[in-house]
């Protein structure tokens, strides 16, 4: 992955460099931009809201202390943050020795969010960045083009942290079919995003 001089990715990379140089304003900017996206991810991965908020703060705290470890050649900044959230959530699951599931009524699927534009009551600061909002709509449109089984299995894997074995047990879909759905779903999404001109490198 190559950093660009300008555009959203270039901005994010500059912010990461700023954070590595202990620039608080750079951290604030990245926090303002991505904290709400990451809090959704944390809330999906950990069913307890206060744990999700703790995880969010831990992730940005770790970013502040270890930004010099970030390698732009390996991942764009948001990808790095997303993977860090998932990794730390898995660590918490392991330490708690339990896999927590959200109550059925609270599950908001990517599909539902894409179709219905579900809104959550505003309880705090809310900032919507134009580039991020635009990218969100593009990705949602892409997700809508996946088949229902592809969406379901990707959602269970990515948002609930289930392995393909656990997904097969939960859905009673054969294991091979689960792997096939996840594989084909992600390959399809990659094609769709490339076809609409969304290069993950250039838009993050």
């Amino acid at each position: 992955m190559i950093s660009e001089a300008g555009g959203p990715l270039g901005n994010d990379l500059a912010l990461m460099q700023g954070i590595a140089a202990r620039d608080r304003s750079a951290l604030n900017s990245l926090y303002n931009k991505y904290s709400s996206t990451l809090l959704t991810l944390c809330s999906r991965l950990l069913s307890d809201r206060s744990e999700a908020e703790d995880l969010l703060i831990d992730v940005f705290w770790e970013l502040w202390n270890r930004a010099d470890r970030y390698d732009p050649a390996r991942a764009a900044p948001l990808t790095y943050l997303v993977m860090l959230c998932r990794s730390r959530a898995i660590d918490r699951h392991r330490s708690a020795n339990a896999v927590k599931k959200m109550p059925p009524g609270m599950q908001i699927s990517v599909e539902a969010a894409a179709d219905k534009g579900l809104d959550i009551a505003d309880r705090g600061e809310r900032v919507d960045y134009a580039d991020l909002a635009e990218q969100r709509e593009i990705v949602r449109a892409g997700v809508r083009q996946l088949s229902a089984p592809q969406r379901q299995t990707l959602e269970l894997a990515f948002f609930e942290g289930l392995s393909h074995t656990e997904i097969a047990e939960k859905t009673s879909i054969p294991l091979g079919t689960v792997k096939s759905h996840i594989r084909s779903g992600l390959i399809r999404l990659r094609e769709i995003l490339r076809n609409v001109g969304v290069d993950a490198e250039s838009t993050l």
């Binding site: 948001l78 600061e125 392995s163």
Partner: protein, 283 residues
């Protein structure tokens, strides 16, 4: 692991669905294979887009305060202390040493005061954060208590209704009629229980939708001559259930009434049915 197996596994790993053994083998392969490593990065980027697709969650301001406090605490550091120097002349040395010692003492005193102020400020922030957290917990507990109180009230209401139905079932000349869902609520239904001799009547409805505040359900008696007689209005609870004692005009016998129906009318009811029929049944 060869590239073919790795490339089969990469999308699973990127989505977070790979099991631990497979992840470990894949990781070992990626260390050796730059092509697969690049593919892994590509799919990881794609998977990360899923996080963007979900609706963002508003972040409470207190979380920013907590992060700032944590960073502020980590930035507090002790400066190095300077040792006084010495000269060859004893008197000058003694005076100089005393002056320096005095300066050091004053400096340390001032520094300690600064540390205390910083610590107090930090404690204030921590206290504010803790108080915020306590308020959130108490608000949540109050909500839970209110919820349970509401449930108890609902259950008490249900017990009372059940007792009324039991009372009806004991009457010697009990008659019953069913009203089926019509129109837009096919799954709703109603039951009419009555004993003309004992002058007891009760109407129950189930699975009806709750109405807006300006609307109400109204029960009607329909005579063989198609005359519509109002029998009372009712509203259902959050489960779609209602029970009430309908109005029977003096001298009217339910067995002489052909049909009972429920319609939606303006709040307070109407003298003649205007709205859509939701339940209907023959007596």
């Amino acid at each position: 692991m060869n590239c073919r197996d790795a490339q089969d596994l990469i999308p699973l790993q990127a989505a977070g669905a790979a099991v631990q053994e497979d992840s470990a083998q894949l990781e070992a392969h990626l260390q050796q294979c730059p092509h697969c490593r690049e593919l892994m990065g590509d799919f990881t980027q794609v998977a990360a887009q899923l996080a963007i697709a979900a609706t963002p969650t508003p972040v409470p301001a207190v979380l920013r305060e907590a992060l700032d406090w944590r960073i502020d605490q980590s930035l507090t550091q002790l400066p190095p202390l300077k040792m006084p120097s010495q000269t060859s002349r004893m008197g000058f040395i003694m005076a100089l040493a005393a002056s320096i010692a005095l300066l050091v003492a004053v400096g340390m005193s001032l520094y300690i005061q600064h540390l205390q102020k910083t610590e107090i400020h930090g404690l204030h922030q921590l206290l504010a954060f803790s108080e915020n957290q306590n308020r959130k917990v108490m608000a949540h507990e109050a909500t839970v208590v209110t919820g349970w109180e509401n449930r108890v009230h609902l259950l008490q209401s249900r017990v009372q209704q059940a007792n009324e139905v039991i009372k009806m079932l004991k009457v010697p000349h009990l008659q019953m009629a069913s009203l089926a869902g019509a129109g837009k609520q096919p799954s709703a239904f109603g039951r009419l229980l009555w004993d003309q001799h004992a002058k007891m009547w009760k109407f129950c409805a189930t699975d009806l939708k709750r109405l807006q505040a300006d609307k109400t359900y109204e029960l009607w008696w329909i005579t063989p001559a198609s005359k519509k007689i109002p029998a009372g209005t009712f509203n259902v609870d959050e489960t779609g259930f209602a029970m009430f004692t309908p109005t029977i005009p003096s001298g009217m016998k339910l067995s002489h009434t052909v049909t009972a129906a429920v319609t939606i009318e303006p709040a307070g009811g109407d003298m003649q049915p205007q709205g859509p029929v939701e339940l209907i049944g023959k007596l």
